[in-house]
């Protein structure tokens, strides 16, 4: 066992750190979270910088314009970017981490040439049309139907939880093309142009008051058959490929961010209150912080172990579910502790003028989504129990 980087990895790290130190200071202040045009512009501009610097599509294969970085290099990329306070992937998320890698793996040459360079250069934004009101955890139950009409599919139905739909150019869309046989054998994976007639986007307001995602209504939207990735009725297999890219290193930035949150909480708690005593002097608080920080250490170790296994096996593996389950719940426990430290400052989003408090109020509300999004904790537990422990499926 060894925790050191190889000379090549260390050289990559130095190159990246040097580049970040020049480019990050050029980035202007981030736009307001409800300024979607501003967010699109901001995130695409960063993607363009990455492209010009040779860091776009870090984990993408070289033959489609990526950097072909190893899992360890991806880890270095994510942690150094976070340390340098570089912008997040933002509206480029679906393109870079979902649709792009899927097309790179299963798309036709024409599809690769048409879509991949635009993602890498920061020209086009993608969104995801997978979930539906009646198909959440049971995604394969999706009902949005696509009927063949000559060289086109005519698509009608409703999608939900579609992040960045307001500013997306394209959508990775799962549709039902057959009702015969098992439900996951009648699904097809399509690329939908978001400017097509018949698409209505209705933003959903989250409990945080912002509009992170939307409902998307599809009324006889026409999609050319050359926009299909994989075969008709084999979209479930394509979607599984899409999901495999979501695991692995996807949560690394969140983990580093959580450590920063807990540190700022410690700082907040060490400011003396009215009585002259700081909350940090409480044994109970320190015990909890000690435990939480130890758990963060553990998750960082688990990430390194997952990456080490991915380097050997070439696939991210199931470690992602293990990480996601523990991480999302730990993040909520950090925020639960924040409530105690914040006291009455929790009652206002601006922390009554305290910017550090604001950060924790927002983090608290946001943390509530973490055990729901990208597979609920309950679904993660089923996956772990059935696929790792080999327990039998629930009989219906």
């Amino acid at each position: 066992m060894d925790l050191r980087f190889s000379p090549a990895e260390e050289a990559f790290r130095r190159e990246l750190v040097a580049w970040l130190s020049v480019e990050v200071p050029k980035v202007g202040p981030p736009p307001d979270k409800d300024d979607w045009d501003g967010r699109r512009k901001f995130d695409l501009a960063w993607q363009r910088r990455l492209f010009d610097g040779g860091f776009a599509g870090i984990d993408w294969p070289k033959d489609v314009g990526g950097r072909g970085a190893s899992p360890v290099e991806q880890m270095i990329y994510l942690s150094e970017s976070e340390k340098a306070h570089a912008p997040y992937v933002g509206v480029n998320f679906v393109g870079l981490l979902h649709a792009g890698p899927t097309i790179a793996t299963l798309g036709t040459t024409e599809q690769k040439n048409r879509y991949l360079p635009e993602i890498l250069m920061g020209n086009e934004v993608w969104c995801q049309g997978f979930s539906e009101p009646s198909a959440g955890s049971d995604l394969a139950a999706l009902e949005t139907k696509a009927i063949r009409d000559g060289d086109e599919y005519v698509v009608s139905g409703q999608k939900i939880w579609t992040s960045h739909a307001q500013v997306a150019d394209l959508c990775e869309l799962l549709v039902r093309t057959s009702k015969e046989g098992p439900k996951h054998k009648g699904i097809t994976w399509l690329i939908m142009d978001m400017r097509s007639p018949g698409i209505e986007v209705r933003p959903l307001k989250t409990i945080g008051g912002s509009t992170e995602f939307s409902e998307v209504f599809l009324n006889e939207v026409r999609i050319p058959i050359e926009n299909r990735v994989g075969k008709e009725n084999e979209g479930w297999k394509v979607a599984m490929v899409t999901f495999s890219f979501e695991r692995g290193t996807a949560f690394l930035s969140d983990l580093i961010r959580s450590r920063e949150l807990l540190k700022s909480l410690v700082q907040l708690s060490s400011i003396p209150g009215k009585s002259g005593k700081a909350k940090w002097e409480s044994d109970a608080l320190r015990q909890q912080v000690g435990l939480l920080s130890g758990e963060l250490d553990g998750l960082w170790s688990l990430t390194r172990r997952n990456i080490s296994q991915a380097s050997k096996d070439g696939v991210p593996g199931i470690g992602g579910s293990v990480f996601k389950l523990y991480y999302s719940e730990l993040r909520q426990r950090i925020s639960d502790l924040a409530i105690k430290v914040l006291g009455q400052r929790l009652m206002s989003y601006d922390g009554f003028g305290d910017p550090v408090a604001t950060e924790h109020v927002e983090a608290y509300i946001y943390s509530i989504s973490m055990t729901i999004a990208a597979g609920t904790s309950q679904v993660q537990r089923n996956i772990i129990a059935e696929r790792i422990l080999g327990l039998p499926k629930e009989s219906l």
Binding site: M1, E9, G298, L302, L325, I388, L391, S395
Partner: protein
């Protein structure tokens, strides 16, 4: 960066597992009523286990601590008497332990109490005090045995008065000893956490109620999934602590060790409790083994640094870290 076991490490742990299967099977341990079988102990000694961490200059094997870690995981799985951890960590300092001639147990004073494990089997006691680790000959020990030990396979007593022993390590060597000892306790605890989970999973697959295996119910699945996550988190941190022990420039060794101990303790104790719950009423009986794992987990999780001390130390170092940004 690599956190996978090497072929050599896996091979060595398999050799040790075979020894355990033959000499420390649970029925043999139950029959021994907590007496350490010297013959079995010598078989372990002959395999080189005790000398894993001792330098070659004193006829140890001088291997990376990862070997001792995989061995202690196996020891935890089989509930091999706890002095095995003490022997491996003491061997660099006590020649008779290295050879297997002596059985020693490591203990510390807490709340005015010095608890001595396996007091009728040990040749000497290693007592941790802030100024150094002291070795006290068995003849100088005045132990009052407990009528009913919590762990039925580990007789315990308390010292009537605490004699002064010979200091066998202090200063930087003492710190080194504490880290090594706590890492190996963590490894033993991770072994317990995995083994009780395995027992509970097998039971959940075979036990039928409402005409189906109870393991098909989500209520049971979710308990067991949490158990796997706890064990994997603890194991990852354990391996990182091991590498950091061998190469301290790779990270913060103090944090790595105390995080490992804390997570391993949680995994072992909580997974044992989960296993008892999954076994239901049978889990609360003497004849099912899981209570033995819970009791051993509680015993081994003590050590030189308690969970509360781990938390306090981690909180302190985290506070320092928060200032440095």
């Amino acid at each position: 960066m690599n956190l996978d076991l090497t072929h050599e490490e896996i091979e060595f742990s398999q050799t040790v597992e075979d020894i355990c299967k033959r000499n420390f099977a649970i029925d043999q341990l139950r029959a021994s009523k907590g007496t350490i079988n010297r013959l079995a102990w010598n078989v372990l000694g002959d395999s080189g286990v005790f000398g894993l961490c001792a330098p070659e200059s004193i006829s140890g094997l001088g291997l990376p601590i990862s070997y001792a870690i995989v061995v202690c995981e196996t020891m935890g799985r089989f509930l091999v008497p706890k002095p095995v951890i003490d022997s491996i960590s003491l061997a660099p300092h006590v020649r008779e332990v290295l050879s297997g001639a002596w059985i020693c147990s490591v203990t510390s004073e807490s709340d005015g109490l010095v608890v001595v494990e396996h007091y009728s089997d040990i040749d000497a006691l290693a007592l941790y005090r802030s100024k150094g680790l002291e070795l006290i000959d068995f003849a100088d020990l005045d132990v009052i045995g407990a009528q009913i030990p919590l762990d039925p396979l580990c007789p315990v007593g308390r010292l009537e008065d605490i004699p002064t022993g010979r200091v066998i390590c202090k200063g930087a060597e003492l710190t080194d000893f504490i880290y090594r000892h706590e890492i190996l306790r963590s490894a033993y605890l991770v072994g317990i956490a995995s083994q009780v989970l395995e027992l509970a999973v097998q039971y959940a697959k075979s036990r039928n109620q409402f005409s189906r295996p109870i393991g098909s119910f989500q209520a049971i699945k979710h308990l067991l999934a949490d158990g796997l996550v706890r064990a994997e988190l603890a194991r990852a941190q354990l391996y990182v602590a091991g590498v950091t022990f061998d190469e301290p420039e790779c990270g913060n060794l103090e944090r790595a060790v105390y995080s490992a101990k804390l997570l391993a303790t949680q995994a072992a104790v909580t997974n044992s409790r989960t296993a008892i719950q999954v076994f239901g009423g049978m889990g609360f009986t003497w004849e099912v083994d899981v209570h033995l794992f819970l009791k051993r987990a509680l015993l081994v999780s003590g050590g030189l640094v308690s969970s509360e001390e781990c938390c306090e130390l981690l909180a302190g170092s985290f506070y320092e870290e928060s200032l440095s940004d």
